[in-house]
Symmetry: D2
Subunit: 334 residues, 4 copies
């Protein structure tokens, strides 16, 4: 961390600052130029409160040189984290997985049909919404507990591990047999929930917030990791931008960026990012070529009965050719 | 709501769609042009699931003509909502209030000192963080329960109503004597929490999310209102934008926009929006001139002991001249 | 185009509006609901001035149903545009090309060395900046006319077609032997320049502006096309967003989106979008998998003499393995 | 400027770097910590090419401590710039001016009528579009030369100085009698044009680009100033953001920010920023309270003949009460 001091700072003020920093376990290198004095902090700066430092009267600005995240930081944990599920499925460190399922669990017939097709077409995780997080209180909020039970029925029937969203930490008991707890983008900075997930020890898929930086996303992962739960999968689902041609903008560069900064696996959700099934295959291929560790693909059982399907879902029988293409692209990258 | 149909839609498909809409209590006007058929929906469209409609195979696009919010909508509730606090302070409908206090409650001495000065300088609500929502798990998270107790002590000492942030709905019992529950921008779409606040009946100050539209913000208010709690105050605190010269961009146009769309009071938080105390007075004046119903002003007791103060706080003794300026601007607007 | 009228519009006002629209060659379908009257416009609406329509007192809002671009619109020109260069190189309609070269032409030795390596490694177009567009007047502005001459020397030596940026339409005469005129993102809406390029007939590569929508981008292409020049290549180079981990955000979804909306080829510039050579190969692969028609790759001759190279350039000898990977991905997509 | 070096940088490499920096007239302070070596640059760093420095193999990052603009920088020119027009009207340094006029000059009658009303209501500058910059080639492009002549006729009739937009530097000869040359937001980084305006010496109003930072805006002003023309007025006209309730987001904080960073006057254009006449008065008042040096107000002569008026224009007879309110707010700020 580099602290730039204001022009008329006195020797005494600098000495006071250095003393205060030392009390916090940090060393300080002073570099005095004609116009500027710069203090380089050495030591564990990840616990330094930047805003507090910036507020000091003698400080002009504070610039981070190293990242504020620690448990998520590849520098301190060079090995890839590999998240392993109950059935032995692995994600991260070269292990790739397709997550497939409907946006919302709607009936036993629907979820069983999708689950079978998903497994047959190579998906490794079944996903499906039970408690939904909706912008409007008047929109369908999911089947709740009943949807969760149907999802677990489909898990039993197919043997696929399941993932579903947690919208309230008070519901956590209901999720005992769920394999991966999904944190939606709107809850990425619901820190109370993140801390409870840290205690649970279960695999967590943490979606990036709509307008959050990679650093903020990794700091949210840090809330889970620092409580002792190392099974965190990051998931990019698009950011809000000036672009209007897709629902959100898929920020694919986070795949190589996260792989550099962190040891955690990062997967991609082209359906929510794009919001239009027509463009999902191209973006699923692009994410694969960028090196993603997995793909979330919303599917629906029957394209002719489109009434209850989201605009962003692809038909189950299109899953197989897409998975084949993805396999070939992964081959080409080797 | 206007539904634009695809080119080769048959008469039969249109009849099916109209039947399905009628079953949902809506009437449909068909307008067939050479290239396009347009269906105008008449009736209560606020409960229509737009995404579901867009997913229909025959639908090209869906455009809302009226707003999806109802309880918050001025069209249905033309009278201004006025939120009244325990001591008779009113906010909205021409009643203006300054909220003042420290970013975090730090000690009994600090909060009592700020509270006295705030009251003396014309503030109507004392605010202060007890449970803090911080990007990093390593940053100071507030004094928690102890901070809350100190804030309530200051309430007793000064008679000022108090506001503090709720970060976990499970803590709600602790907030019984708090006058206004603040929902932070990161929890604007924590819908479980919003619903519980709807049940509580207490005044809620709902901050706008960092990258949320006015419509999404009003839909979040709708979660509280539709559970029967009408005491909602909206608070603009800046949006994340391409601008880099201030922490966030203060989107002041929401003041007249919200006043047109909704009957709810809207207040402004220049300190969080700008992040630099130097520019806060100019933006507080601007918000006042735009017609805001109140201002949140972070203050700290002593500018010479800057160590624990945020960069965005103004010194308590600067509050009085600023409040005087604000009073004069409000006078000029009459 | 759909025009929504205000509630209390009279029959006479509607009749006046319809009359005015007919005078402009448009038919109007009226759909009167209980709360809203909607006018659907039929005919060539691409020349209608939406803002003017919105300004009418009786109009609540205007919603476009069809796109405002015509010459660039795939609906009217279903066949892919294929841009053919002097040496027979084709771009678009399934023809893919790598553009390679330095950010700025610096010396005869440099440009010749890069040009030879580019050709040897499979590039089809040599690019190099002569007149540069820089944010600061104090930054290096390129060698100008001398840089152009060196680039043309490299064209003669290698036989590769060349592309370079035009920063002032008054310089157009100097570009006679240049094969592709590049319009930088800062000039995407320099309409005077676009019109002159429309007259020139030469292939134009039109970069997307930093914060422009796909529609605005296609409207800028329309300025060139509508003057009779059909040789337009679109180039995505990243948009400014809330993301901070890369210089800009690479909005890869524009590849399938543009392919749907328009017949024009669209190529990708991962170097400018990302600004960090480390992440360029992953994003070049991703763009290829998304279906791009070409890639702009900044290269520099010698990685050990990094002094004058941009952070975003890749070493010439890394070009060959990257091109091989790209070839394999294109194979996998078939 | 602070240069952070990579971990394994050798003494020799550092010595080479320092030597190279000295050759460019800069001194370097070295601060070596356990993990990081930091080089603080002392001297005139405004001409240093940051990108070039970042590209050096031993450099991890470069952080600016001081601003890259010089001629526009208040640090070097503490006195406010006051732009004086032919009739003695002054803008900046406490002098405030209202600019009023139609979006486009349409007829002699229209411009004369507006000009008279503008003058009568206290406007100091008459503005009106002759050559228009439009997103679509099919939209009305202005009356061109004829519009310019009509504007100059209105200047003669009323004695008001006039401002109009320059869209092509080749047209500069036509603007001899124009008092202020307006650079539109789309041309903010048309550097060829900015340089020519630098030579012209005439007052220039430089609009901020749709997605440009304050630093980029000041660097564009620097292109004009560094050619010897000091008569530059900055104009904020809204930025593109995630907000959807107004056309653009009015970033009012730039008023105090620019006043701190630069000595140039900064005026505000609420009409283009907001795009809805209904909200213009509130935002004009807000800009005034924020301390703007002037306001651009689009007006139209007759609200009942709305056909040719923009949605963002206010009726001429509303100008007088608005100007009166603005006067009172300016009074309140004293």
């Amino acid at each position: 961390m580099v602290v730039v001091l204001k022009k008329r700072t006195t020797e005494e003020q600098i000495a006071n600052l250095v003393g205060w920093l030392k009390a916090q376990g940090l060393d300080a290198d002073i570099s005095s130029g004609e116009n500027t004095t710069i203090v380089g902090l050495v030591g564990d700066v990840s616990r330094v409160d930047t805003e507090l430092l910036e507020a000091l009267e003698i400080v002009e600005s504070v610039k981070r040189v190293s990242e504020p995240f620690k448990a998520a930081n590849r520098k301190f944990h060079p090995e890839d984290t590999v998240v392993e599920l109950s059935d032995g499925t692995r994600i991260g460190g070269g292990h790739f997985a397709v997550f497939a399922g409907p946006s919302a669990v709607e009936s036993e017939e629907q979820i069983l049909q999708v689950a079978e097709a998903a497994r047959a077409n190579g998906a490794r995780v079944l996903m499906g919404g039970a408690f939904k997080s909706r912008t409007s209180p008047y929109s369908f909020q999911g089947l709740g507990k009943e949807g969760l039970d149907l999802l677990l029925k489909a898990k039993k029937a197919t043997g696929l591990p399941v993932m579903t969203e947690l919208v309230d930490a008070a519901d956590l008991d209901l999720y005992e047999d769920v394999d991966i707890l999904q944190v939606g983008s709107r809850n990425m900075q619901n820190f109370s929930m993140l801390r409870e997930l840290g205690h649970s020890g279960k695999p967590v898929l943490l979606k990036r917030g709509l307008a959050n930086t990679v650093e903020e996303w990794l700091m949210s992962a840090e809330y889970i990791l620092s409580e002792g739960n190392r099974n965190v999968i990051l998931c990019e689902r698009g950011i809000r931008s000036i672009s209007e041609s897709t629902r959100n903008s898929m920020d694919l560069s986070v795949v190589p960026v996260v792989h550099k900064l962190s040891h955690l696996p990062v997967v991609s959700d082209p359906c929510h990012a794009i919001g239009n099934a027509e463009f999902v295959p191209a973006m699923a291929c692009a994410a694969t070529a960028a090196g993603t560790d997995g793909l979330l693909l919303e599917v629906h059982p029957d394209p002719t009965k489109a009434l209850c399907d989201g605009v962003q879902s692809i038909a189950v029988d299109h899953l197989s050719p897409l998975c084949e293409k993805i396999r070939k692209i992964r081959e080409a990258l080797k």
